[in-house]
């Protein structure tokens, strides 16, 4: 996610309630949080961090609309122009018969499109390994990370003081 060789100071918390309080405190103290990692979605974290709503669903709508048009127009072209066949005495252009496939292609395009978009944005793909701060943040630890590139020892002390005052169970630094 981040550029190579970023020095990170991070604190691990045992509980999401303590984490939420700590994030609030960091915002009050105007500390610039690089990222927060949790093993599961924590309710109320996004508004405190001030994260914008994802625009992934707008992309999803566009993919879906493309799917609708693709399927419907393709079938219309096939059954009226390219290869007209009479099925069960129905007219060539039989819209009700096209609807199930139109629906399926809409869902397929929207879901696959959103998955691919999401993976691309997050820099994830088969075979790509991303640096992790600590394996336990995917298990039972809640993490607040600060970017400490070129930070003075005063700043580092302030951050460490913040971690100990908000109840972090562990404070580590790592270059990723």
């Amino acid at each position: 996610m981040s550029a190579a060789n970023t020095e990170v100071l991070y604190g691990l918390y045992d509980d999401e309630e303590i984490l939420l309080e700590a994030v609030k405190k960091a915002k009050e103290d105007h500390l610039e949080i690089m990222d927060v990692f949790t093993p599961f979605p924590v309710h109320g974290l996004d508004p405190i961090l001030g994260l914008e709503e994802s625009r992934l669903h707008i992309a999803g709508f566009i993919y879906g609309a493309i799917g609708t048009l693709t399927a419907f127009l393709f079938m219309t072209w096939v059954f009226t122009r390219d290869w007209p066949i009479i099925f069960g005495g129905k007219p060539y252009f039989s819209a009700p018969a096209f609807i199930p496939i139109t629906f399926e292609v809409t869902v397929l395009m929207a879901s696959v499109g959103m998955v691919v978009t999401f993976y691309t944005i997050c820099g994830m793909a088969p075979g790509v390994t991303n640096a992790t701060l600590d394996d336990r943040i995917t298990d039972d630890k809640f993490c607040i990370a600060f970017n400490t590139n070129g930070a003075s020892s005063d700043v580092l002390d302030k951050l460490k003081g913040f971690f100990s005052s908000t109840g972090a169970s562990e404070v580590n630094s790592k270059t990723i």
């Binding site: 709508f61 005495g89 199930p100």
Partner: protein, 419 residues
């Protein structure tokens, strides 16, 4: 403010609506009707079915959510308990239709004409189910059962407020009654929809019609719940019902609008593909003579809620939510209009023409018929009357207990609901 009182001003608005409704029904009966009064009777049946169904769905969602261990709705579940009590006036309204069948006051159902049934193989074959005994006792027994369950869920819930303890014995009793109600609700609602609505077209049948009609009721019930809650919030009640609860109600309205469309399309496509004459006639009539209703139905009940409610924030803003609720509520009333009116008009033409060929002729060249081809002002007035009566009854029930239950095991979860 946990205790609701219906202000005198609002009560007079609701009573005024009821008077308007009675006036519209009276005007329809006296001046704007054919000699069989089919417009009056079909309006009466249409609104009775629609509002009774909303009461039934309210009871059903209470039972379903309780059985599913859902907690988010607990804060406002008294609204649905109050809605469910409209089943009692609903039964009274149906008794009038039943009396009409026995006394031959109306010609809503072709199968009530014994002379026609005797010579008609299809209606004769269905006469084991479509007869006035089944209609009468089916309606009374099944609606009586629903009222029994509505009363149970409500009385235990109110009792829990007073005597509930942390062993949650009352909630477990509610859970048992809810679970018992679900299979009963599933089968009985279908049976009543066949009798009340589908048998208007006595020759026609569709196996998924019951689900289709129930989905229609469901969306209407959610729309009415949203509008009532937002109104009560604006009067200072239910401040503990937040955007989060309304967001979930909006999701239900959105999801069941799509579900309704799925059933609408499935019913249409199977009949269109099967191309079986006695089934396709249903849609042939509606496509030829009720085009505005037929396509308006899709516009109101699918396109509008689908496009308006798709986004996250439109389900959290009162303006868009109320807009979609009004459209959905009216739209599903319109949907029931389309289920009932063409069949009644056909039966009326047959009864008036005293002969099948003349009837077929009249039915297919009828052109515009006031109160049937599209809903007129009298129909809208009648609907407002029933709506006023429904809300008057429900809000009077709402006054009788605290708005938010206490001692319910899920109340804390519901108060802190977060989507």
């Amino acid at each position: 403010m946990n205790q609701f009182t219906l202000e005198a001003r609002h009560k007079s608005v609701l009573i005024g609506a009821v008077i308007l409704g009675v006036l519209c029904l009276g005007l329809t009966f006296l001046f704007y009707d054919d000699e069989l009064h089919s417009r009056f009777w079909s309006n009466y049946l249409h609104n009775t079915v629609f509002f009774t169904g909303i009461a039934f769905v309210s009871l059903f969602v209470l039972a379903a959510f309780t059985t599913a261990y859902a907690g988010w709705h607990t804060v406002f579940k008294r609204i649905w308990e109050a809605y469910a009590f409209f089943l009692i006036p609903g039964l009274v309204l149906f008794l009038v239709i039943i009396a009409g069948i026995w006394g031959h006051f109306h010609h809503l159902y072709h199968w009530t004409n014994e002379a026609d049934v005797a010579t008609d193989r299809i209606m004769l074959g269905k006469s084991g189910f479509l007869n006035k005994y089944w209609y009468t006792f089916g309606t009374i027994i099944i609606m009586g059962t629903w009222i029994f369950f509505a009363n149970k869920l409500r009385s235990i819930s109110v009792e829990e407020d007073l005597h509930g303890t942390t062993d949650y014995a009352f909630h477990r009793r509610i859970r048992r009654w809810s679970a018992a109600f679900l299979p009963i609700a599933g089968f009985t609602s279908a049976a009543l929809i066949w009798q009340w609505v589908m048998s208007v077209d006595a020759h026609w049948y569709s196996t998924l019609f019951a689900w289709y009609a129930t989905a229609s009721w469901f969306v209407a019930a959610m729309a009415l719940t949203i509008m009532t809650l937002i109104f009560l919030k604006s009067r200072g009640y239910y401040q503990n019902v937040t955007d989060e609860h309304l967001h979930d109600l909006g999701k239900y309205m959105f999801a069941f609008s799509v579900f309704w469309t799925y059933l609408w399309f499935s019913q249409y496509m199977l009949i269109w593909y099967g191309n079986n004459g006695e089934e396709t006639i249903y849609f042939r009539t509606r496509l030829d003579e009720y085009r505005v209703l037929f396509f308006g139905n899709l516009l109101l009940n699918f396109a509008t809620p689908f496009l308006v409610l798709m986004r996250n924030d439109t389900k959290r803003k009162f303006g868009t939510l109320v807009f979609a609720s009004v459209i959905c509520f009216f739209g599903h009333w319109w949907d029931f209009f389309l289920m009932i009116k063409p069949g009644v008009l056909h039966t009326t033409h047959e009864a008036l023409a005293h002969g099948a060929e003349a009837a077929a002729d009249a039915a297919h060249h009828g052109g515009f018929t006031a109160g049937f081809t599209i809903p007129g002002l009298l129909e809208v007035g009648t609907m407002l009357g029933f709506l006023g009566g429904f809300l008057w009854f429900a809000l009077s029930r709402l006054e009788k207990a605290p708005l938010t239950p206490s001692n319910d095991p899920y109340i804390e979860e519901s108060l802190h609901h977060h989507v």
